[in-house]
């Protein structure tokens, strides 16, 4: 009882003093790992791009497929996960009046587990014992240490998630009848998705470990793929949900506007959490073992995820227009000029949003069965996720870094650093336009993904792809400049920028906003619906593949 009375005072104290230094240290440590992963992963990406264009030969002790596996793990798993956890722990600390000491401890334990996991995974890949890509499809068999490393990574994610749940539950207990702050609502959604999304891959890895140790003889290949993608696709949408949390909550404040609508925002989160997991099937549209009927049903599951994104697209531009008009923008498009184009904290997420228009459209196209067959496993797909993850998610994360890191390190973003940030954003955008554009085009012509430089014995068709691959390498070269600049900016903001106070931007509701309905707080109901959707999507297809004859292991690299 005493504690409950003390909290509001603590919260006031917190706001007066700014960030809690212990919480700041935790988040900054996550960001350090995140941006080191970006730096290393970025260089590996450059090497691949140059190899793929036939401009650079990779050494036998670290060949194309090791490079690619490490690039994928560092950027798809490490960069994004550590950023997400660091960002949401900072958000919970700020919006809920500090992390509970127990939760902070869980944050550090999670960090330790993740780092240990990544070190184990990366070591096996570097030693040449796990050139299996971040999708690690069996019956290719990596060293058992690779899979054990993955377990540590997942356990780390779970600890972080439960820490967040404990903090949110504690706040709710002390604020009966109130809505949890919007950013904490996003955090809850993301961590619910992380826990439920990773269940499938956990089952898969727990089957792979005894198999890789030789305790079981065979592995069910299709079941493994299906379990993997129940996680793989959810993961992608977790980064996306993380990115849009900054669009909905921080961006309005940064441009001097108000929240679009608290209730609609919460509805978008709930829809994404409920609908997401079965989306994984669209990675298996040309797989055997899944009937034509189920593949068709799953077109709906995938497209339904597009609906909340359409709501987001409207919300963002409506909020921009409102803000621009309030600032005196006249006429049909006058409001557009009133937006703060010179502020990198706005420009970076704005480009991220614009990129999601073609990225989302491409996604909708390629989830339709027959169109998917045209581009499946071609470089088109790589182009697609370099737009979604490489631009929409990455540029939003960069945009967040410009204010969150100085907020945590008690420093400020100087006008010079802002300018450098704008240059970084432009270089990044140009690089991705070249790289992703070239990948989309050459993929349509049939050039496969995950393949080192080859002309297939001077085959005329393959040779005709070369000009596009050169453009891909040009894009990669721009991007590495972008990576180096970004990492420089991040560490400058962490350790060298002038001391000062930077605000954590939290958008406020409009004065005439409607009250948010109570049912948005019913997480139990959301989770029940999520489980129902997963059951509807998975039970029958899994029954179809559960008895497929198993495969012995192969090491083909």
């Amino acid at each position: 009882m005493e504690l409950a009375e003390k909290r509001p005072f603590n919260e006031k104290l917190q706001h007066a003093l700014g960030v809690n230094p212990k919480d700041a240290k935790l988040s900054l440590t996550y960001f350090t790992v995140s941006f080191i992963a970006l730096l290393i992963g970025g260089f590996l990406g450059l090497f691949q791009g140059l190899n793929r264009a036939g401009l650079m030969e990779l050494p036998t002790w670290f060949d194309y497929y090791q490079t690619l596996t490490t690039h994928g793990i560092l950027l798809v798993l490490v960069f994004t996960t550590t950023f997400t956890v660091g960002y949401f722990y900072a958000s919970l600390s700020h919006t809920l009046g500090g992390l509970l000491p127990k939760v902070r401890k869980m944050g550090w334990t999670a960090f330790g587990a993740m780092v240990l996991g990544v070190v184990l995974v990366a070591t096996t890949v570097v030693m040449g014992n796990a050139s299996v890509m971040y999708t690690f499809y069996p019956p290719m068999q990596a060293s058992p240490i690779f899979y054990i490393g993955l377990v540590f990574l997942v356990v780390g994610i779970w600890i972080a998630a439960f820490g967040a749940f404990i903090n949110v539950a504690h706040w709710r207990k002390n604020h009966k009848g109130q809505h949890i702050p919007l950013l904490a609502f996003f955090a809850t959604g993301v961590f619910v998705m992380l826990v439920f999304g990773s269940l499938g891959v956990t089952v898969e890895v727990l089957m792979l470990i005894p198999w890789s140790l030789g305790w079981t003889e065979t592995i069910n290949v299709m079941l493994s793929r299906t379990l993997f993608w129940s996680f793989g696709h959810t993961l992608v949408n977790i980064w996306y949900l993380t990115a849009i949390s900054a669009w909905y909550v921080a961006v309005p404040k940064l441009i001097g506007g108000k929240l679009f609508s608290d209730s609609l925002t919460r509805l978008v989160v709930i829809l994404l959490v409920i609908l997401n997991i079965p989306g994984g099937f669209h990675h298996q549209i040309v797989d055997p073992g899944i009937t034509e009927g189920w593949k068709f049903i799953h077109v709906f599951m995938s497209l339904s995820i597009g609906f909340p994104s359409l709501m987001t697209a409207f919300a963002m531009f409506a909020m921009f227009e409102r803000t621009g008009r309030r600032k005196g923008g006249k006429g049909l498009l006058g409001w557009f000029k009133k937006l703060p184009w010179g502020d990198v904290r706005f420009l970076a997420p704005f480009i991220a949003m614009v990129a999601f228009i073609p990225a989302g459209a491409g996604g909708i196209a390629q989830t339709n069965n027959q169109l998917n067959q045209v581009v499946h496993n071609s470089l088109w797909v790589v182009g697609h996720f370099h737009l979604t993850l490489g631009v929409t998610v990455a540029l939003t994360f960069f945009g967040v870094a410009y204010w969150l890191i100085p907020h945590l390190s008690k420093r400020v973003l100087t006008p010079q650093m802002n300018k450098l940030g704008i240059i970084q954003t432009i270089i990044w955008t140009i690089g991705m336009l070249f790289m992703s554009g070239a990948m989309h085009f050459v993929g349509l012509l049939g050039s496969p993904r995950r393949t080192s430089y080859t002309t297939y014995g001077d085959n005329a068709t393959a040779l005709s792809w070369d000009p596009y691959l050169i453009l891909l390498a040009v894009g990669g070269t721009f991007l590495i400049i972008g990576v180096v600049l970004m990492v420089y900016i991040v560490f400058n903001l962490m350790f060298f920028a002038p001391k000062g106070n930077t605000e954590f931007p939290i958008g406020e509701p409009e004065a005439d906003a409607y009250p948010t309905p109570k049912w948005t707080e019913r997480w139990g109901l959301t989770i029940v619906l999520l489980i129902l959707i997963v059951a509807m999507g998975y039970v029958v297809p899994i029954m179809d593949i559960i008895n497929v004859p198993g495969s012995p292991p192969f090491i083909t690299w």
Partner: protein, 155 residues
């Protein structure tokens, strides 16, 4: 919860696009027979060489202008690796993997299928245009993945 009029219109258009794309995909898949390859037959991946029809891979004429290609995929080759058919022929590829997951893609066509150990995958294509078609594996399958290719000659 209240939606703005313009947002309602926007979302209705969005839902209409989603439904239209479902209808088109369903029509093509079930009325026009263009559904993606979805072989449901299973096979013991350790006994591929002893299991019909994969005990005898090759190109077989099964009717007028109709061919069957019984094919195994293995790191890093296709068997048979020389395929020749006359222009205008309809070819059904019946495939399985002897080892890891492979992809079967023919550049310049819509042939694109995953071939996983444990399943028999089927895909049919009519080759109208004469020429040399590049066949490649589009799923990473090991150190020699970039060499896993062959050609189909249509005369």
């Amino acid at each position: 919860m209240k939606l703005h009029r313009a947002e309602e219109i926007w979302l209705i258009i969005g839902v209409a696009i989603i439904i239209l794309s479902m209808v088109l995909t369903g029509y093509q898949a079930f009325a026009q027979g263009m559904a993606p390859p979805s072989g449901m037959e299973t096979i013991d991946p350790q006994k591929v060489s002893e299991t019909a029809p994969f005990d005898n891979p090759g190109v077989f004429e099964v009717g007028e202008n109709k061919y069957e290609v019984v094919m195994t995929l293995q790191a890093f080759s296709f068997t048979p690796n020389e395929i020749e058919v006359p222009a205008g022929s309809e070819v059904e590829f019946i495939m399985t993997s002897r080892d890891v997951v492979h992809g079967f893609q023919v550049a310049g066509t819509n042939i694109n299928a995953m071939v996983t150990p444990g399943h028999v995958q089927r895909i049919t294509q009519t080759f109208d245009e004469p020429g040399e078609y590049l066949v490649l594996c589009n799923e990473y399958c090991g150190a020699g993945h970039q060499m896993m290719a062959t050609t189909i000659i249509v005369k």
